[in-house]
Amino acid sequence: MAEGGGAAIDPLHHFEVHPIIELKLGGMDMSITQPVLWMMISTVVSFGILAFVAATLKRYPKGFQNFVEMIVDFLRRELVINVIGEEGKGWFPVVATLFIFILTCNLMGLIPGSFTATSNINVTAGLAILVFLMVQGAGIKKYGFVGYFKAFIPSGVPSWILPVMLPIEFISLFAKPFSLAVRLFANMMAGHMVILVFLSMIILFKSVIITPLPLIGVVIMYAFEIFVALIQAYIFAVLTASYLSDALHMEH
């Protein structure tokens, strides 16, 4: 994971973004950096696996097809239909792709020498902004622009409380995508940071006696990171589904 001797002492160095291919489009820096590269790899890998399974579907599934079908069915039923309801079926591709994309990015980041795209706040913020826009879009589409924002003021609330309530509602509206972005970014970065710190310790102490201790720590953290990669992808998808459900059920 460490990129050279100097980097080992400063774990944060690992998360620095460097352009691999410099690219400028209309004054915007669109350089292909490590997170972009690894997002592309994740896209290709996850699409490759799922498209292969979908292309070789069998009526009597076995092995990997079973596994993929189980995940797809789980996402569709437990995440989308159970949380949003039957009308949420149309949102299944979005929620499932969020889960698969984030999971693949997280797991890709565990390959030594790779870069965890989801450990960069811009990536997670990008996804969170997308979710935010889709949630507002879903609400506005169902209730109309006025109707949707009217629903933020519950009926029967005394008017003097509105100056207090509206800012709270407004903050909570933006707190949702913010928490989505920060949660994923912080979890992914922290896990890698712990692994890097353990590895740095090996180089720092340069001692055969101490080396096994951080090494055990690294192995345990790696196992834990696999779990975290799965959990964080799941949480992101569940919360997206629940925000969609909120926007589609404003009556409550």
């Binding site: 997002m39 994740s42 579907l57």
Partner: protein, 165 residues
């Protein structure tokens, strides 16, 4: 890593939306269709098997009813047979009884007739012997000793005759 990087955000959108479009068309659609069609066929199979089961139950009930009917018919036939046998038995016994009674009666009558006949024959013989005795008595001299001899002779003769008959 904390600095805003609009380019990276846009790249994130490009990657995500590309993946979403590709997966929706090439992965989710066929996989979900397969899951749904399998679920549908399983449901249909279950329904079909349920129908078959009901059908089988009906047929079984029919067979059972038929069996019961047959059994009761057989029972009826047995009872009828038994009744007929009983009747026949009674008739035969009554007839046999009657016949034996008739036979006994006939035999008694026969015996009676034979007895009468024997008695009649005996009477005839006694009369004849009496005549003979009388004849002998008359043909011999009337001496007391002769007299006695004659009577005794006649009596012996009668005795003899009687013993013979």
């Amino acid at each position: 890593m904390f600095e805003a990087d609009p380019g990276l955000i846009i790249w994130t959108w490009i990657c995500f939306i590309t993946l979403l479009a590709l997966l929706a068309k090439f992965a989710y659609k066929p996989i979900v269709a397969m899951i749904e069609s399998r679920a549908t066929s399983i449901r249909e199979d279950l329904d079909a098997s349920e129908m078959k089961r009901k059908e089988a139950e009906e047929v079984l009930a029919q067979y059972k009813a038929q069996l019961d009917e047959g059994r009761s018919e057989v029972q009826k036939m047995i009872e009828e047979g038994r009744a007929v046998g009983e009747k026949l038995k009674r008739e035969i016994m009554a007839k046999a009884d009657e016949e034996s009674k008739a036979l006994v009666k006939k035999a008694q009558e026969e015996i009676e007739r034979e007895k009468k006949k024997a008695l009649m024959e005996l009477q005839e013989q006694v009369a004849e012997l009496s005549v003979q005795v009388a004849t002998k008595m008359i043909s011999q001299t009337l001496e007391p000793s002769d007299h006695e001899k004659l009577i005794e002779g006649a009596l012996a003769q009668v005795k003899e005759e009687y013993a013979k008959s």
